[in-house]
Amino acid sequence: MRVRSIAWVAGAALAVTGLAACGEDSGSSDGSELVIGEVAELTGAAEAVGGPQHNAIKLAVDEINAAGGIRIGDKKVRIKLRTEDTKSDPTVGVTAVQKLLTKDGVHYLVGSLSGAVASAYLPVIKDRKDIIDIVVGAANPGLNENISVYRPRADAFQSVDAEVTLALETAGELGTDNIAVLSDKKLQSNAVAVPKIVDAIKAAGKTVVGPVDFEMGATQFSSQIAALKRAGNKVALFQGYGTDLMTFVKQARAQGYDGTVVAASGATADQVKQADVSADALKNVFDIGTAFPADLVALKLNAEAAQKFADAYEKEFGAPPGYTSASAYGGVHILAAALEKAGTTTDYAKVREALDDLTVADVPELAEKVVPQEGDRIFKDHQAYFSLVLRAWDGAAWTTVKAIG
């Protein structure tokens, strides 16, 4: 009696879910509205970076809609953003993408911060010629080799050369033979970038300390610092997020490590403040990365658009943009510009063509400095390249030391 009743409820629940779900496939919208799906890491491990990325996407969509929408031919099409949280979990991510594709009839995706999530949903979209996925977060290699994926965001390799060059220069000045590599082992991009860094250093005739691993969100860097000190190291490359860089620097200085640190972390002023790191400790710490709006303003590159974006973002969300915010913001505008140029939202081959041919001048909203490829194009093989800058902390803000490339 007992078992049966439960089973009935279970069976009935399943059946109802099934029936309810069968009738739900919604067609695409009536033409006055374009549904764009966002694959977002709003909770879980990648939440800290995923949040600001989501904010920037929302900001761009709001801007486009405030201007009436995307101009397709003689009509204006408003964007409806459908956001699905992946919980930073690949399994949930696959379900989320399927939901966007099926239930919301989405053909355009933006987002994807987590490399693992992107790798997991890739099989779902990779052979789909009717889908265009603008990846503005995940930096792991290979993603953009797929027909559906475009990446207007620096991949894992773009800062490698600059980092190694700076590290070698510094090592030369200090007359030291070894360079340490600290690597966040949880970052997928490091799995490919770090071996490349190590090879480059070795090729220049220096020895490598490490790679010394740490884990995202570590509170303790003692053993890493001790390893550096044991090796008599004077120059370290730091491959990880800004929050971890701050923790490392603060502890390293307190424990008597005074070497130069070259990082590609995208650290923000907020992170420095939250971690309570002194300006003294941040002496000889350099961060290399794609230019932030503030850098562009300082270097007078794309300054107007960058300033506009930074102001709008700060006004809307009460905080400065995060690590991938500018890429995310630019990504939505790139997609909109391509759609306008193609003059269609349903001929995907044409939209892809437009994306391939899109030039930097076509997207005045870009809040980053894209390095134009052949023919002033944004993408080369679906990948965009960015001007890098070298930043240092001046006691109140990260300031641009110089532009690279």
């Binding site: 007992r2 009743s5 879910t17 496939d25």
Partner: protein, 336 residues
């Protein structure tokens, strides 16, 4: 005859879901996998009373085994299933007797540690894909009756195979639960010393439960690899897999055959139908979990049960049996 009705209802429900969209198929397939892991856990936790917080290890063994076998050796789903599950069983037979020396919370923590070690190994070892994971797992072709183009991407085929596996895993659980072995496990859960004094080799039974859990979880893992076509360490960590399986069992009702199915629908599949913000979803998840464990100590299965019986208090016949056994032993021990 009516015994088979619930099973028919389950099969019918899964069948109806099988006609749904790719989204529904994916959601149902991934939920079914989570439920399978929970059913696997239910053998050692529900029946045996050992709270195994490392079931993700064996889920992962299945998934990684299948991923490696498929991408490196070209094994099919069937062959991977046999080999990967065998690997998980062997691993469980090695670590099981060691870990099972501990009891209750100590056992829970040692299995949790095992889970930590497993994730560390697969994340740090490049041969196992490291953090990048293993992409490119090839699904089997569509089942013959779908025809040439009936099931592009084989998603529907994968879904059907997972359903078969789910029903099989559930049947294994029900069979163990109904068998003398299952009843002995439950007796061990309630009073291990008593069972030992009655001549049962309790460690043997506990290792058996641990191994069955490992094997069934590995089955789920193999299907995970083939349906997602990509494995990386994250989904097999304590927080994602073991935590979830534990919660499903606790919420569904430990030792109850249909408990994990109910809880899986509520906790895993359910949130996808809620159009709340991500944060609200988390609150709802936590709140539902708390409410059920506080107000329905026997889990959802017991709650449904109570509803069906008009609110009468449930009495475990097992407890009565044990009380009787206990008295018997005491009487024998002290009077004879």
């Amino acid at each position: 005859m009516t015994r088979f009705l619930p099973w028919a209802a389950l099969v019918a429900g899964l069948g109806i879901l099988g006609t749904g969209s790719p989204y529904l198929l994916t959601l149902a397939a991934t939920s079914a996998l989570a439920i399978m892991v929970a059913i696997a856990l239910n053998v050692s936790m529900g029946l045996g009373g050992s709270v195994n917080l490392g079931v993700g290890v064996f889920y992962g063994c299945g998934a990684y085994g299948a991923a490696l076998l498929n991408t490196k050796q070209g094994y099919s789903l069937g062959a991977s299933l046999v080999v990967a599950v065998a690997i998980a069983v062997v691993v469980s037979l090695i670590v099981g007797p060691l870990l099972l020396r501990t009891r209750s919370l100590y056992f829970a923590i040692s299995t949790l540690a095992l889970n930590g070690i497993f994730v560390d190994i697969v994340a740090s070892n490049d041969d196992l894909g490291g953090e990048l994971g293993i992409p490119g797992i090839t699904r089997p072709g569509p089942l013959p009756f779908f025809g040439e183009d009936g099931d592009p991407g084989s998603l529907r085929t994968m879904y059907l195979l997972i359903c078969v596996a789910l029903v099989a895993v559930l049947a294994v659980f029900a069979a163990i639960r109904g068998h003398r072995v299952g009843r002995t496990l439950e007796a061990i859960r309630e009073d291990e010393l008593l069972c030992q004094s009655l001549g049962y080799t309790t460690l043997g039974y506990r290792v058996f439960a641990f191994t069955v859990t490992a094997g069934l979880a590995a089955v789920a893992g193999v299907f995970y690899a083939f349906v997602i076509q990509y494995v990386n360490p994250g989904p097999f960590s304590f927080l994602t897999s073991s935590f979830q399986a534990f919660v499903i069992v606790a919420v569904g009702g430990a030792a109850r055959t249909w408990g994990p199915i109910l809880a899986g629908i509520v906790l895993v599949a359910g949130p996808s139908f809620l159009e709340f913000s991500a944060t609200t979803n988390q609150y709802v998840y936590g709140g539902v979990l708390l409410a059920i464990v506080i107000f329905l100590p026997g889990g959802l299965a017991a709650g449904v049960d109570r509803l069906a019986r008009g609110g009468a208090a449930t009495t475990s016949s097992l407890r009565r049996t044990l009380a009787r056994l206990k008295h018997t032993r005491e009487s024998e021990g002290e009077l004879s």
